[in-house]
Amino acid sequence: MSAQTPHAPHAPQVPQVPQVPPARASRALVAGVPMLWLSVFFLIPLVIVLKISLSEARLAMPPYTPLVEWVRGQGASLHAHLDNYRLLFSDPLYADSLLYSLRVAAGSTVCCLLLGYPMALAIARAVPERRHLLLMAIILPFWTSFLLRVYAWIGLLQDDGVINHVLLALHLTHRPLRMVNTTFAVYLGIVYSYLPFMVLPLYANLEKHDAALLEAAADLGARPWQRFRRITLPLSVPGIIAGVLLVFIPAVGEFVIPSLLGPASQLMIGRVISTEFFENRDWPVASALALLLLALLLAPILILQRYRGRELSA
C-alpha cells in the first residue's frame, strides 16, 4: 500500500470568497453578547468585590471605607489595605473551615463519581427508548425546590425521623442513631443534591462512544473489564473532568446544606463568608475570603483545562 498519501483524506477546498461584512457583523454579535453578559454580570461584580476586599470595615452605609478618595485641591488618594488578607492567614478559623470544605467537597465528589459513573453508563447503554425515561428520573428532583428537598432530609435523618424508626422497628439498633448535624449528613446532602451534575456530563460523553470500539477490543481479546479499563474509561476522561468540576466547585462553597444538616462546631467556608457578611457586617473580610476561595478553585480548573487542551491537540 502506497505511503504517498500524506494529505488529509477529504480536505474540503473552501472556495476563497471575499469576506462580506454582514457575516463578520453577525459573528461579532454572536461572540459579543456573551462577552457583554459576562462583563456586566461577572467581571464588574468581581472588580467591586476586589475593591471592597482592599478597604476597611466601618460602621456606616456602605460598611466599608472608599478605596479612592478625592480631596479637593490634592487630587485622588488611594487607600488600599491588605489587612483583610493578612487576617485570613493569621486566624486559624479560616484555614480550618477552608480545609474542612475542601475535604467534604472532595469526598462528596468522589462519592458522586463512584455512584454517578455506573448510572451514566447504564443509561448510555440502555435501549434508546428507555434512555429518556432514565434521564428524566435523574432530572425530575430538580422540579422540586432544592431547599424543600434538603429539609426533607432532616425529616428522614433526625433522631425520631423515618430512618431511625425503621431501624428501631427492625431491631437493628436499640437507640436512635445521631445522623442530623453531623458531617455524614453533609456528605449525604451534597452527594444527593449534586449527583445529577455528575451523571449528566458523564452521560453526554458516554452516549457518544462508538460501540464498534468495544467490539474491536473484544475481537482483539479484551474481556469486559479490560474493555472498560482500556477503552471506555480513558475515552470518558473529558466527561469525568466536567462532572468533577461541576460537583466539586459548588460543593466547596456550599452554604445551605451544611447550615441545615451539618454540625454547628465545624463550619464550611460558605457559612463563614455568610457570617462575616451578615452577622459581623465585615464586608471587606468576607470579600477577601470570597476572592481567596475563587483563586483556590481557579487553580484546578486551569490545570484541567490545560490537560484537556493538550488532549485535543495531541
Partner: protein, 371 residues
C-alpha cells in the same frame, strides 16, 4: 453423535452448518451452510439487508446463531465469546482507538495476550512494515488519511496471526482510485501471510477482484457459491443473474428439447432461442433467460442461423471509452442492452442512433432457469 475433531486445512477449514439468525420475527440469516478452505479469500456478496453482515458477525462472535453451528479448524466456536476466538475482524468504520497512536492500536491485541514487551515491539514493527505504516507509528488515528487508517486497521487485525480474518466492507470508506489500488494490496498481504479471508461486500466488482470464491446472499439465504466466472456466466437463479453485472432478462417457455440444448420461445424475440446452459429446468414451466450485453453481436446483414437472433433499431449509444453501450429496441418494443468493445481505432464503426441492426448470439451465451 458428531465428532468435534476434523481434518484441518482441508476444504472445510471454516464450516457453517445450518446457521440461522432470527431477530424477533425477522429472519436475518436463513439456514446457511458453507465450507471455506484454508487460504481462500471468500467474499459474501449481497445487497444491504441480505444478511451478509449478520453472518460475518456470527463468525466474529458478536451475534449468537439462533440455530446451527460455526466451526473453525475443527473447533466448534458457536458458544465461544469473541475475545476467545482465534480470529480477528477489520471493521467497516475501522474502529481504531482514538486515544491511542498507531503503534498502540496495533499492539492492543498482543498486550491482551500478555506477550513480552520486546516480542510485542518486534511484531508490531513487522506488521507495520507489511502495511507500510512504520513511519507513521506515532500518529493518532485522526491524523491519518482514510487509506492510512485502513492499513492500520488491517495491521491491528493481522498482528495476532489469526486463523481467519473477517473484513466488513474493507474498502467502502475509500475513494474509487484508492479502492482499486487497495484491492490488489489486500490480495498481496493475504498471499504474503497466508491468512484465510472472509470479506463482506456489496460491491460486485470488489468481490470479483478479490475473491477466490463468492457467496451471493439474498434475503438471508446463500443463493449461489462459486468463482467469479461461475457466478457471472452460470447464474443459478434469476436473482443472481440480475444482481451480478448488467443483463438482459427475458421470459420464455420450452418449445423443444434437442441434443444441443433447449429451444425456447420468447414472445419478445422474433426467433426461437437455443440455450445450452440451464439451471435446474424440469418441466415446461416459465423460464427466465439471462443474456449478457457483451455476448450479443451486431451486424447490418441478417445472420444465417435459425436461432438466437433479433432485429431492431438503435435507440441510444453511450461511448464509455473502453466500451460502447447501445440500447436496441426490438419490433416487440423490448429494449436490449448491447456492449461493444472499442478494441482498436478504425474498427468497423459502432452503429449510430436510429440505425437498423441485427442482433445475434451463440447458443452458449444465454443462461436459462426455472422462474
Amino acid at each position: 453423535m458428531t465428532s468435534v475433531t476434523s481434518v484441518t486445512g482441508g476444504a472445510d477449514y471454516v464450516r457453517l452448518v445450518e446457521v440461522s439468525k432470527r431477530f424477533g420475527d425477522f429472519v436475518a440469516v436463513d439456514r446457511v451452510s458453507l465450507d471455506i478452505a484454508r487460504g481462500e479469500i471468500f467474499c459474501l456478496l449481497g445487497a444491504s439487508g441480505s444478511g451478509k453482515t449478520t453472518l460475518l458477525r456470527m463468525l466474529a462472535g458478536f451475534e449468537t446463531p439462533s440455530s446451527g453451528r460455526v466451526m473453525l479448524d475443527g473447533q466448534d466456536l458457536t458458544q465461544v465469546p469473541p475475545y476467545r476466538r482465534p480470529l480477528n475482524m477489520m471493521f467497516q468504520s475501522y474502529a481504531l482507538f482514538p486515544h491511542m497512536d498507531v503503534a498502540h492500536n496495533v499492539a492492543f491485541g498482543l498486550e491482551q495476550e500478555r506477550l513480552g514487551r520486546d516480542e510485542i515491539r518486534r511484531r508490531v514493527g513487522e506488521i507495520l512494515e507489511v502495511v507500510r505504516m512504520g513511519e507513521l507509528r506515532a500518529r493518532r488515528p485522526h491524523q491519518l488519511s482514510g487509506g492510512q487508517r485502513q492499513r492500520v486497521a488491517l495491521a491491528r487485525a493481522l498482528v495476532k496471526r489469526p486463523k481467519l480474518l473477517l473484513l466488513d466492507e474493507p474498502l467502502a470508506a475509500l475513494d474509487r482510485k484508492l479502492r482499486e489500488h487497495t484491492q490488489f494490496e489486500l490480495i498481496n498481504v493475504q498471499q504474503q501471510l497466508g491468512v484465510t479471508f472472509v470479506v463482506v461486500t456489496h460491491d460486485q466488482e470488489e468481490a470479483m477482484t478479490l475473491a477466490t470464491r463468492i457467496g451471493v446472499m439474498n434475503h438471508g439465504a446463500l443463493v449461489q457459491v462459486g468463482s467469479a466466472r461461475e457466478i457471472y456466466e452460470r447464474p443459478a437463479t434469476r436473482f443472481v443473474a440480475d444482481f451480478i453485472g448488467s443483463v438482459n432478462l427475458l421470459q420464455g417457455q420450452i418449445q423443444e428439447r434437442s441434443a444441443s440444448g433447449l429451444v425456447l420461445r420468447c414472445a419478445e424475440l422474433p426467433a426461437p432461442l437455443l440455450v445450452e446452459r440451464c439451471a435446474g429446468v424440469s418441466t415446461q414451466e416459465s423460464l427466465w433467460i439471462a443474456l449478457r450485453p457483451e455476448q450479443i453481436s451486431l451486424s447490418r446483414t441478417a445472420p444465417e442461423q435459425p436461432h438466437n437472433w433479433a432485429h431492431g433499431v438503435v435507440r441510444e449509444v453511450a461511448y464509455r471509452g473502453d466500451v460502447s453501450v447501445l440500447l436496441v429496441r426490438l419490433g416487440s418494443g423490448r429494449e436490449l442492452r448491447v456492449t461493444l468493445t472499442n478494441a482498436a481505432r478504425g474498427d468497423a464503426p459502432v452503429p449510430a442512433r436510429d440505425e437498423a441492426v441485427y442482433l445475434s448470439w451463440r447458443s452458449d451465451a444465454a443462461v436459462a432457469g426455472a422462474a
